[in-house]
Point group: C2
Chain length 169, copies 2
């Protein structure tokens, strides 16, 4: 039986997941407009390259497997290059084709895992908060992490957009 | 009596509003680091100035009074300058002091209105969707708009950040 409680819960999950998917769709649309050469350029003088930012977003999305307790990460080695170090670290980066492939793979598997989650799972604590803190701040659940990461992706998309020649706001 | 339904609903609202407030706090922190002269500069060559983006974000946040049906807008005239026209339109812009004042005022009044909303209000349709469409897509409610605008703010914050001299990711 569908209770009002279930309806509300499903609605909120739909809001969070659909906003997440919207950002992925937008970023994929942006990537489709850029050649590899354009993506490799700096988004602004002395600022991160599009390649670095795509690797960074891939590493952060891959981290969701951990935060949302969805199993092992697919590309944990990306953290060293794209999270713990800067674009100018001198560390060898994967090719753009490999970064794009990882980006798409992470999103495909995340989508499968999201679809398999039970609604109640989203309201449990994420892996980076202690049980004590979660008892005090019960809104810091898995849905919250997804929304936080959606905003984070928007933030860097605002920068990657600068690689496209003509843009509006 | 607090029902499980109420607890879940309150939790959703807390997640959405706290992420919104986090973006405002971050943008205010960024603004505190920038002189007016720095804010007036372009965020990247031939890209929107910080002033324009702050006016743009103020106009979009002011638009929430309409979308969330919270009463009259405070600064509807900003739309012409910061939404309907580009940074290089030649339209006279308000002073930075006036834009900052509008930005703060909009956020203060929005906060008051949010606090006065009943939980159920957030799950009603926003003003820009028809009743028919809302019946088909009930997740397009007021909470959804707030999350969408939170991501939008993150997007432009990623650009305004480029005005600060030294940044990480």
């Amino acid at each position: 039986m569908e209770t009002q409680q279930n309806v509300t819960t499903d609605l909120f999950i739909k809001i969070a997941v659909s906003n997440w998917e919207l950002q992925n769709t937008r970023l994929n649309g942006l990537l489709a407009k850029l050649t590899d050469e354009q993506l490799a350029a700096q988004t602004a003088p002395d600022r991160n390259s599009g390649t670095y930012l795509l690797g960074h977003l891939t590493a952060v999305s891959d981290g969701l497997f951990t935060f949302l307790e969805l199993g092992d990460r697919l590309y944990p080695h990306l953290d060293e290059i794209f999270l713990k170090n800067s674009d100018t670290s001198g560390l060898e980066k994967p090719s753009i084709a490999d970064i794009k492939s990882a980006w798409n793979h992470v999103n495909t598997v995340l989508k499968e895992k999201f679809d398999a989650m039970q609604p109640a799972d989203w309201f449990t604590k994420h892996s980076a908060i202690s049980a004590d803190d979660f008892a005090k701040e019960p809104h810091r659940n898995k849905l919250n992490i997804l929304i936080n990461r959606t905003v984070h992706q928007g933030y860097h998309m605002g920068q990657i957009t600068y690689l496209v020649k003509k843009i509006g706001v």
